[in-house]
């Protein structure tokens, strides 16, 4: 490859590494400052997706610069794996917290937001209860 293409590849890799580092710092700031467990999870989920994925884009360009296929293939594999794994783990943690009974933050006066999941859960429970009562009536 010509020289200026190599220089551009290296500078692109450096740019992506810098961007990933900045997003990692933003994740920790969100963890420190946000008021609620769910919002903190939202902030730290960004580190797993954008921080490391931008670093992996840097690795991708670095692999092209080195003309090393082993680095490129592993970077793409880790990239796809992280895209699947990060949101799944965050969803598992937040649904576990909701089932545990963790209250979401609804503003300083407690009226700022709404809890859609509570409404859905209550509706489903009422349907199950009605069905159970119907079955009991039939048995009698």
């Amino acid at each position: 490859m010509p020289d200026f293409v190599l220089i551009i590849l290296l500078l692109l890799a450096a740019l992506f590494v810098l961007a990933g580092t900045v997003l990692s710092v933003i994740g920790l700031v969100g963890l420190k400052r946000l008021p609620d467990m769910y919002t903190r999870l939202h902030a730290t989920g960004k580190v797993g997706l954008f921080g490391v994925v931008l670093l992996l884009l840097g690795v991708f360009f670095f692999g092209i610069y080195q003309a090393d296929w082993t680095i490129i293939l592993r970077a793409v594999l880790l990239f796809l794996f992280l895209l699947i794994v990060g949101p799944t783990a965050a969803h598992a943690i937040s649904s576990a917290a909701y089932r545990f009974g963790q209250e979401p933050y609804l503003g300083p006066d407690g009226k700022g937001g709404r809890d859609d999941l509570a409404r859905d859960v209550r509706q489903k429970a009422e349907e199950l209860l009605a069905e159970h009562r119907r079955k009991k009536k039939k048995e009698k």
């Binding site: 920790l28 490391v52 680095i71």
Partner: protein
């Protein structure tokens, strides 16, 4: 050429030191917070930061073996986070 190489190396060292500092700060937060889900989130976060550290090391050395180690770490962190979340919510693993 050498200028671009120097810039790339400096950026990599900045990223390395920043991530080491972030790991230290998040471990301090782990010590301070008492809510169990906060600690779960921070454990997941520290695993992600160590993965980022490995990715930066793979560019610094340069050695693609670090990316393999990172893949294993990401898989183990994912399984650990899901197992711990289920254990805390349901009081049983399986």
């Amino acid at each position: 050429m050498t200028v671009a190489n120097a810039i790339f190396d400096i950026v990599l060292y900045i990223g390395l030191l920043t991530h080491i500092g972030l790991i230290a700060a998040s471990l301090y937060t782990f010590w301070k917070r008492t809510l169990v889900f906060d600690r779960l989130i921070i454990a997941d976060l520290v695993a992600t930061y160590i993965l980022a550290l490995l990715v930066i090391l793979a560019m610094l050395m340069p050695e693609s073996l670090f990316l393999d180690v990172g893949l294993g770490l990401a898989a183990m962190g994912f399984i650990g986070a899901i197992a711990l979340a289920k254990y805390i919510a349901d009081q049983q693993m399986f």
